[in-house]
């Protein structure tokens, strides 16, 4: 499972996919990991993200990796959420929001949920920028270096590897012909 995830990450990194899609996947993964999932807000966010051109594979991998450790940030998220939710200036707005049918299902009035959402939004832009840069750097430097390395070339020339590659490309062709 874990190996499959790593393969998927490298597959995404090595493909011709827009680095922003991968970075957005990472940023949304962070956000969804921070927000507790037992509410409608999390489901709605996930649905919206799934509609966007975001690398959902990377996103789910990040959610799965970060979710078990998200509770460590709970005290911090609680303090953010509590500070905003109990702000007197926003009381009227939140009261109206709370009384809109179905909105309570988002559990926005929970300090950890709201703190997670706010912190996730704040974190989204820096994470997006950072990972876009990192993906570009990887493709420009690391990937080229690997592809030009003797080990890689030697590995790819191995009879078993080359035959696997040939078989897979043939399979792909067949699929495209059928389609």
């Amino acid at each position: 499972m874990f190996l499959k995830w790593i393969i998927n990450i490298f597959k995404a990194l090595n493909s011709n996919q827009n680095p922003k899609e991968i970075a957005a996947g990472v940023a949304f993964g962070f956000m969804l990991a921070l927000i507790p999932s037992n509410n409608l807000l999390w489901v709605l966010l996930l649905c919206i993200v799934l509609l966007l051109r975001v690398n959902s594979g990377i996103m789910f991998i990040f959610i799965a990796i970060l979710k078990p450790f998200a509770f460590l940030l709970d005290p911090f998220l609680h303090s953010i959420g509590y500070a905003i939710l109990t702000n007197k200036a926003l009381f009227e707005f939140f009261t109206k929001l709370y009384n809109i049918p179905f909105v309570f299902l988002t559990k926005f009035n929970n300090t950890v949920v709201f703190g997670g959402l706010v912190f996730g939004i704040i974190l989204w832009i820096p994470l997006f920028i950072l990972f876009t840069f990192l993906v570009k750097q990887y493709r420009d430097k690391v990937m080229t270096a690997i592809q030009n390395s003797k080990i890689y070339k030697g590995f790819m020339k191995l009879p078993i590897v080359s035959s696997i590659v040939k078989l897979s490309s043939k399979a792909k062709e067949t699929v495209s012909i059928i389609k």
Partner: protein, 690 residues
């Protein structure tokens, strides 16, 4: 050789601007970018065109790049919305096919849990958008009567708050019902919990007992001995006298022993006192002799005091036992009167004799009717309480520790109970027109802050019924239920309790106004005004009594009754009935019935006394013995007092003897001293004068 295919994206010559924007910008791997640039070149028209002699490897790589460019085109992936739309479509289809069925099952199962009987809902249509349910018909079976429905609803529309469903609450804002019927027949047994064979047997026995009660009563054939014999085990006075006699006998035995012991003590003490009494005070000449006598007295004192204390306590305890026995003897006497009243009830004579005939008949009739009314009222309260309990149960199960729980900041909002029916309205205008409403039926009245209220009005020709009331399960409220109802021109027929007037049945029309309140302990207090008109009587025999009864009824065209009643939590009913018919009947039947009542009373008393005779005789004997014990006890007390007095007297005598001896000794010493002084002063020289 296979033909080399060029991807369609690269087939046509492309402008430089578009080449930059649509192709180069969509390639994110440097090597691929370089490869594409090497594959294209500008033609004479200034457009970018792919080179013509492509190798297979180049064509394959171009295909891969073209696919990646296509994928990287827009922000929204066209495949994903299609998937989402498919999922939504599936949900919609599921809703269309199954939601009504699910709603029907939910209604049936939910109501079955509340009413403990089968529920059938037909034509259920659920709409989440309109937040409503439409039901063609709803039938709720009775949980007590096997082939009866508790109620039936015709076309009904329910509007509820959908958001609250997601909070696990069912809040009905309004129910509009086009028709409602009660106590209708059904073909199958609708009870969920059916009575066991044993219970069935019990109810059959009860029915038989009832049949026996209905047996006709004939004045001339009263067998008082039979009544007494049959009810012997239920007569309290016989058992009471028997127990009382056992108690007296035990007490007698106890006091005989105690008094014998006391007698011994007194004899002992008397010996001692007699010894002291034999001391002759005049023979005591010296202080030493007096002290010896005094010592003897002082030694006797504690014994006498102890005896006195014991005797006093004995007398006190005895008096208390005697008082207890006296009290019980009095009780036993009143028990005889109660037994006579009890036995009289088997003669089916009204409580107040001839003056209470109408009231008596009414009381019996009302007891049955109110028993049913009380049952329904209690059912209403218990359903309301059951909902409350279920609500609390749910709350308990919800309490569990959730990871990453945080803290919920609460904002002002309407908090609904688990179940709420804010309003239900029904109205029909036909030959039988009726209207009604039910409001604030909630699973937690404490939370909702309002009691459930209801109103019902039914009119059929000149008959009408109006019911108005509330059910209150709030913790701090005194009353569980309040109910007032008015009925006009309803037919009635009474065929029980009429033996006294020798009638088979009395029928007519009645109008009533009733108001009652049920307290938290399930006791009921209420008042009823009853008006009976158009009375017809079917006589059993054509004798003097029945004729007099018929005349009395004819002479009273309107019978008014005022009934004050209470029902205790143990279902004991007490009716205070006042009626204008009582006086009329008393006048017509007074002499006959009162005479009969007196004779029956005497006869029953005689028979009961015969049964009581052995116990009474025993009681008399025991009382005599007990009386003698009382005398002995008092004697003992007197003896102890007397001994003490004698002891005191002797002590006094000895004390005065001691005083006397002391004085004599003093005088003697004084005289001797004076003589000596005189002798001494004789030889003294005389004092010269001045």
């Amino acid at each position: 050789m296979a033909k080399i295919k060029v991807p369609s994206l690269f087939k046509k010559p492309i402008k430089e601007k578009n080449f930059e924007k649509k192709i180069l910008k969509k390639i994110y791997i440097k090597a691929d970018l370089e490869f594409i640039k090497s594959m294209f070149s500008k033609n004479e028209s200034g457009l970018y065109e792919i080179k013509k002699d492509l190798t297979k490897e180049e064509a394959d790589r171009l295909k891969k790049i073209a696919d990646a460019i296509k994928k990287n085109k827009s922000i929204i992936d066209p495949v994903k919305p299609t998937l989402v739309a498919t999922v939504i479509g599936a949900i919609v289809i599921f809703n269309v096919l199954f939601k009504d069925w699910l709603a029907k099952r939910a209604i049936e199962k939910g109501l079955e849990a509340v009413f403990n009987a089968e529920v059938e809902a037909k034509g259920v249509k659920l709409s989440f958008i309109k937040a409503g349910i439409k039901i063609k018909s709803l039938t709720v079976a009775s949980d007590t009567e096997p082939f009866k429905n508790l109620f039936e609803l015709d076309k009904t529309e329910i509007s509820f708050l959908t958001p609250e469903l997601f909070r696990g609450k069912f809040v009905i804002k309004n129910i509009e019902c086009s028709g409602i019927r009660w106590n209708t027949d059904r073909k199958t047994d609708g009870r969920i919990i059916k009575p066991t064979a044993e219970k069935k047997k019990e109810s059959e026995v009860k029915k038989e007992e009832k049949k026996e009660e209905k047996a006709n009563f004939d004045f001339s054939k009263i067998d008082t001995s039979k009544i007494v014999d049959e009810q012997l085990t239920n007569l309290k006075s016989i058992t009471f006298y028997s127990n009382l006699n056992i108690e007296i006998a035990q007490s007698k035995e106890k006091w005989e022993t105690n008094l014998a012991q006391s007698k011994n003590d007194i004899d002992e003490a008397t010996k001692k006192v007699n010894e002291i009494k034999s001391i002759n005070v005049n023979n005591i000449k010296t202080i030493q002799e007096a002290e010896v006598a005094l010592k003897k007295i002082n030694e006797a004192y504690p014994i006498i005091n102890d005896l006195k204390g014991k005797t006093e306590k004995l007398t006190k305890d005895f008096s208390s036992d005697t008082a207890n026995i006296d009290k019980k003897t009095k009780e036993a006497t009143s028990m005889i009167d109660k037994d006579i009243s009890y036995l009289k009830s088997f003669l089916k004579i009204p409580e107040g004799g001839a003056k209470g005939i109408a009231s008596g008949i009414a009381t019996k009739y009302l007891s049955q009717k109110f028993g049913k009314l009380y049952y329904y009222a209690m059912k209403g309260i218990s359903i309301s309480q059951k909902m409350k309990k279920d609500d609390k149960k749910e709350k308990k199960t919800v309490k569990r520790e959730i990871k990453r729980s945080g803290y919920n900041v609460e904002f002002p909002t309407t908090v609904y109970p688990k179940f709420l029916l804010e309003s239900m309205v029904t109205s029909v205008n036909a030959d039988v027109s009726y209207s009604g409403w039910l409001s604030n039926v909630s699973s937690d009245q404490d939370l909702w802050g309002k009691p459930s209220t209801f109103f019902f009005d039914r009119n059929e020709n000149d008959k009408s019924i109006t019911v108005n009331g509330f059910v209150d399960t709030r913790t701090n409220e005194e009353k569980s239920m309040g109910l007032s109802f008015e009925m006009n021109n309803y037919p009635f027929s009474v065929n029980e309790g009429l033996e006294i007037v020798k009638a088979k049945s009395v029928a007519g029309l009645y109008s009533l106004q009733n108001s009652l309140e049920i307290m938290k302990d399930n006791s009921v207090v209420g008042k009823l005004f009853l008006k009976l008109v158009n009375l017809t009587v079917e006589l059993e025999e054509n004798d003097m009594i029945s004729k007099a009864f018929l005349e009395a009824i004819k002479s009273t065209p309107v019978v008014n009754m005022e009934v004050g009643y209470t029902i205790s939590s143990s279902m004991a009913m007490n009716f205070d009935v006042k009626s204008n018919l009582d006086a009329v009947l008393a006048k017509a039947l007074g002499k006959i019935i009162d005479g009969f009542v007196k004779d029956a009373d005497n006869e029953l008393r005689k028979k009961l006394m015969e049964k009581l005779e052995p116990e009474l005789k025993k009681n008399k004997e025991l009382a005599k013995v007990y009386e003698s014990l009382k005398g002995r006890s008092l004697e003992d007390l007197k003896s102890a007092d007397k001994l003490k007095e004698e002891l005191d007297k002797k002590k006094k005598e000895i004390d005065s003897q001691i005083e006397k001896i002391k004085k004599e000794a003093e005088d003697k010493v004084k005289k001797e001293a004076e003589g000596k002084i005189k002798e001494q002063t004789k030889n003294l020289p005389k004092i010269p004068g001045f």
